[in-house]
Amino acid sequence: MKTTLRTKRKTAPVQVADAAPEAIIELRGVIKRFSNAAGEFTILKGVDLNIDRGEFVSIVGKSGSGKSTLLNMVTGIDHPSDGRVIVNGTDIYTGVSESHRSNWRGKNLGIVFQFFQLLPMLTLLENVMLPMDYVNMYDFDERPKRAIELLTLVGLEKFANKLPVLVSTGQQQLAAIARAMACDPPLLIADEPTGNLDTRSADTIIQLFELFVSQGKTIVMVTHDPSLTSRTHRNIIISDGELIDETISRSLPQLRHRHMLEFTKIAQLRSYNPHEVILTQNQQADEFFMVRQGEVEIINGSTSSRLGKGAYFGGVELMRGTPTVVDVRAGNIPVQLLALPKRDFVRVMNESPITAESIMKTSTF
């Protein structure tokens, strides 16, 4: 393959002085509006999000909730109407021209879509080499070797010289992933990468993602498939252009997204010092609590147990209207809880029998 792709001269992208040190992606108040004949509408309504280096994150949400739009803000395929996006220490929108962004992206991001976008006239090997040519990474002679290594990693070395039409769709997607990793980016962004694959191919792809994560890569993946979210470190739900608080979605996973969003908006953050009292026996509590950070200690006479992240307490009493039957206090490290007012909690539980029932069942006291 002849490579005469021109690489543009570039200046160093702007580093952000106050970027969160562990975060590889930081969205601050990101708003995205679209306008059409019907008027203007807001798709992302002020999204704040930090994703740390090395995290494997899934993003789910109903069709049209804004998942792809959110990813497009990170990849620079589209740009926010307001707010900032900092990726790998670089503010990718402030004072950066499209061509700088495109070069920066080539080195920092791997991107995989549902439809694989392999160039039909190039072999798998040439397709994988394409990004290296495009951003001019690796020595010219080194590129085929690196491309073969990547194809070997995804199990396609035998097909390196085949054109995409001669391999299956699952294999095409694997080649697209190899291509996304061509320039060894620290971050891989995938929009429904398993969307039109059978479960076995999908599983192969998730295993590959797990391998990348074990090597220190960060992966953010939009998916429809609930069986895949259980394999990521962190699952983020987007509802109608807003992110749901992760403590709420972890604690009450069966709740409707609109209820989760409502709770996200009214929940109060409470912080407690180690061993500080949270609830006492016989108290008429008026809040439902979810553990956000640390552990709480539940003391029932002479027995005690601990609840950590994803656990909750106080729900049964609110639903029954009875006083607290145990003492609750913070564990050995500082604790953060999210608290929901009784009135809102009980109203939503009345509309959410499955969640209400599971709170009744799993309640430890």
Partner: protein, 243 residues
């Protein structure tokens, strides 16, 4: 009219774990320059296999395909890839545009890869092709900001980038609604009548057969010409074929 493509005693057998599978059986066909040839047939009939033989993407089991007097399956793999880049544009059901490149960059890419045009020329040519597809106003957009039908027209423009005389298309309208599909047909017709391209298009939609200047049906790997009363040229070809 000249016979642009000659297919002689073509057979294709796939070897699978379950045994050999004959996908194409003894195909003989001449395709003339300037034809808009439709190849219809049920799913699994062998249509894609047939296209892959014509454009040399896959190897045949026996027989010969000559295009412009070049026996394409006798070429080395590299020579065949080079030959293909100059002689055949390919369009598939999925548009496969690179999402990070603008439309004009997507079309420039094959020219830069093949080195057939000077880089400065390639960009002008890409813009011309976009104009031909009535997409020039979107030239600097990324593919995700245009519709599926528009993306397919960009893919067609890309297939035309190196100005190949032949375009092969495998179910190019398969994922488009019928109005959008009609538009793609108009584009193909224009390329045949105004630019003298030869187009071979595969579809499983039998209802489209009448849209082509000639239609062939593939049934279980065998070629059957569709008798089409309104197209005397079809009969002419049938007779020619039987010689």
């Amino acid at each position: 009219m000249t016979n642009l493509i000659k297919i002689k005693n073509l057979n294709k057998t796939y070897s699978t774990a379950a045994g050999d599978f004959v996908a194409l059986k003894d195909i003989n066909l001449h395709i003339q320059a300037g034809e808009f040839l439709g190849v219809v047939g049920k799913s699994g009939a062998g249509k894609s296999t047939f296209l892959n033989m014509i454009n040399g993407v896959d190897q045949l089991t026996s027989g010969e395909v000559t295009v412009n007097d070049v026996s394409i399956h006798s070429l080395s793999e590299d020579a065949r890839a080079l030959w293909r880049s100059k002689n055949m544009g390919v369009v598939y059901q999925s548009f496969q545009l690179l999402p990070m490149l603008t439309l004009v960059e997507n079309i420039t890419l094959p020219m830069d890869l093949s080195d057939n045009f000077h880089p400065r020329k390639s960009r002008d040519r890409a813009l011309e092709l976009l104009k031909l597809m009535e997409l020039d106003e979107h030239a600097h957009k990324l593919p995700s900001f245009i519709s599926g039908g528009q993306q397919q027209r960009v893919a067609i423009a890309r297939a035309l980038a190196n100005d190949p005389p032949i375009l092969v298309a495998d179910e190019p309208t398969g994922s488009l609604d019928s109005i959008t599909a009609d538009h793609i047909f108009d584009v193909f017709e224009h390329l045949v009548t105004q630019q003298g391209k030869t187009i071979i298009m595969v579809t499983h939609d039998m209802a489209l057969a009448e849209k082509f200047s000639r239609s062939l049906n593939i049934v279980d790997g065998q070629l059957v010409e569709i008798a089409n009363a309104s197209e005397s040229i079809a009969m002419d070809h049938t007779i020619r074929m039987r010689k």
